[in-house]
């Protein structure tokens, strides 16, 4: 059974700090997606990573797919209050599975 484990579960940091959150599995994925979900809203797709070792940037967000395609990380530079939300990773072949997410709170 494929599982995606996200860490940390919760993270609260000051505005302007940098942070990294992780999405790990013992299984290989052909691709992984990252979503951000703001309170009371549905998840919004941020990025899909496909190639092992791939790095994608979205403004201050940097996404990396592990060389073995079993893990991914999201690094945020100079976090801002607008980055607050639940970050979910997802992947799968027969069935898309989701991690339980990292709940990020940026303090102004």
């Amino acid at each position: 059974t494929q599982l995606l484990e996200q860490s940390p579960q919760f993270l609260s940091i000051q505005e302007g700090e940098n942070l990294t959150v992780y999405c790990n599995s013992s299984s290989v994925f052909s691709s992984l997606q990252w979503y951000r979900q703001e309170p009371g809203e549905g998840p919004v797709l941020l990025v899909t990573v496909v190639t092992g070792g791939e790095v994608k940037k979205l403004k201050r967000l940097t996404f990396q797919f592990g060389d073995a395609r079993k893990d991914s990380s999201l690094h945020i530079t100079a976090a801002q209050p607008g980055d607050t939300g639940l970050y979910l990773c997802a992947g799968g072949e027969d069935k898309i599975i989701f991690g339980k997410g990292t709940r990020l709170h940026i303090l102004p």
Partner: protein, 112 residues
Amino acid sequence: DVKVTQSSRYLVKRTGEKVFLECVQDMDHENMFWYRQDPGLGLRLIYFSYDVKMKEKGDIPEGYSVSREKKERFSLILESASTNQTSMYLCASSLIWGNTIYFGEGSWLTVV
């Protein structure tokens, strides 16, 4: 851009009522999904559909049914709502099975 629209953002229903949650997508996607999201439990798949009139049970189908009469529309039905069905319900769609899923804004259902 993909647009998945859920007809009701907030609903309050009484125990035993029949509840319909409607979802429409505008990108001609083959696959549609209904999830519920609860604190600590993450996203759980209720039902999905890979074609018109086709439906498959997800991980937690008990107490729910679905209908897909048209490609763009996927409805979730609670035949007799119960308080343990109070939750955030998310509709989603994808073009190809196993491909990226796009979500609607969610429907908050409270059963009293």
